[in-house]
């Protein structure tokens, strides 16, 4: 019986399997990174909104001027509030580094967050990543090579900014889908690097959000107007 020799063709099956497993690994890792980014983005949104409320809780009242957040105490209060909501939302098993919290001003003209600028009226919460290498073709190629070589998993970076503007809470998040048209729940509108996430009333200052909020919050807190769903579960 002739002996089977090791030819280049004999390793084709192994190479084929290796390619499939590599592509599958990248697919699984990408979807895992997508899940991680969704969890982190939601957590950052909640933390930023809660932090902005802490910012509004402690204000200075200069004579004859609009109230502004106290810069001496605001940072501690906001950071504590942000950490509280990060701990409430992220699973204990999630190995996520502590978020980066920045206080500053939301520039309505430039439509961007100005870190450190006084008076404080906005809070930015950021998870992971370094700003210099967030996007670009080179970044994508590097990630692909790193994935194939197994050096590290995909790097997820999310950012959310909440701003107190005239009794309205606005949540801005980066990395959302651009949409220049009218916003509807779940959609996002991009402003440079920030985008408003799906809250129409707070995006463009549409008709009287205070009235909507007052109406809803009365039903949330008022004993006589409590809605049947609150505190209960509904399934369908």
């Amino acid at each position: 019986m002739p002996k089977r020799t090791h030819t280049p063709r004999s390793s084709a099956t192994g190479l084929w399997l290796l390619c499939w497993l590599t592509l599958g690994g990248i697919a699984v890792d990408s979807s895992h990174a997508y899940r991680q980014s969704a969890m982190l983005q939601a957590t950052a949104d909640a933390a930023a909104l809660a932090g902005a409320q802490a910012l509004g809780a402690d204000v200075l009242m200069p004579f004859g001027a609009a109230p502004v957040a106290n810069p001496l105490t605001a940072e501690t209060a906001v950071t504590e509030r942000v950490r509280e909501y990060v701990a409430k939302n992220l699973p204990a098993s999630a190995a996520v580094p502590a978020p980066e919290v920045k206080l500053g001003t939301w520039s309505a003209d430039a439509e961007r967050f100005l870190p450190g600028a006084l008076p404080y009226d906005a809070v930015q919460v950021r998870f992971g990543g370094d700003r210099a290498s967030e996007s670009g073709v080179l970044r994508s190629v590097l990630v692909l090579v790193q994935e194939m070589a197994g050096f590290r998993s995909l790097h997820v970076s999310v950012e959310s900014t909440a701003s107190l503007r005239s009794e309205r809470m606005m949540a801005f998040a980066t990395g959302c889908v651009a949409d220049d048209g009218a916003l509807s729940p779940g959609e996002d509108q991009r402003y440079d690097r920030a985008c408003l996430h799906g809250e129409r009333a707070f995006a463009a200052g549409r008709p009287d959000p205070a009235l909507v909020r007052g109406d809803t919050m009365l039903s949330l807190f008022g004993a006589e107007a409590a809605e049947p769903e609150l505190g209960q579960a509904a399934s369908f």
């Binding site: 949104d45 729940p185 909020r213 369908f236």
Partner: protein, 153 residues
């Protein structure tokens, strides 16, 4: 003396081919296809598991985004709990049985979305390994919990 078949004219004939099993084992043609077929079940299982994991992860990400949106609507007063429940219902996948709850806990609104499907995904393997795969729980602070500052924009 070894007997060699000859023709009637005395010319030696080539040796006859070996028997069928020996001929099969000795022939290397097509071995690549046989190897691939042998590995195919393992490869298909791996692809199935990876597809299942990817689908489960993407679905959980969508659940998180939906829980975030729902909590955000209630927390910022954009929608009432009834409206946000309707919004969540419309946004959930039509297949499967979903359980949604919206609770007001002190200063927070808590949204829980979970699947009651015993075998979600293609095989249910990922959900069996990680029960939290098809569930999302999100908590957001109500914006009216602290009085808003009356600062001019």
């Amino acid at each position: 003396m070894k007997f060699l078949p000859t023709t009637h004219q005395g010319v030696h004939l080539p040796p006859s081919p070996p028997a069928a099993p020996a001929r099969f084992l000795g022939d290397t043609r097509g071995y690549l296809s046989i190897e691939q077929v042998a590995w195919l079940p393992l490869g298909l299982c791996a692809v199935l598991a990876m597809t299942d994991a990817s689908l489960a992860y993407v679905q959980q990400a969508r659940l998180w985004e939906l829980a975030r949106d729902t909590a955000h609507q209630v927390a910022t007063g954009r929608m009432s709990a009834t409206e946000s429940m309707r919004h969540a219902k419309a946004a959930l996948p039509s297949h499967g049985h979903w359980h949604v709850s919206i609770q007001c806990l002190g200063t927070d609104v808590l949204v829980r979305i979970s699947s009651e499907d015993p075998r979600p995904g293609l095989t249910g393997l990922i959900a069996a390994l990680d029960p939290d795969t098809l569930a999302a729980e999100f908590r957001m602070r109500l914006t009216s919990a602290t009085p808003p500052i009356s600062k001019a924009p």
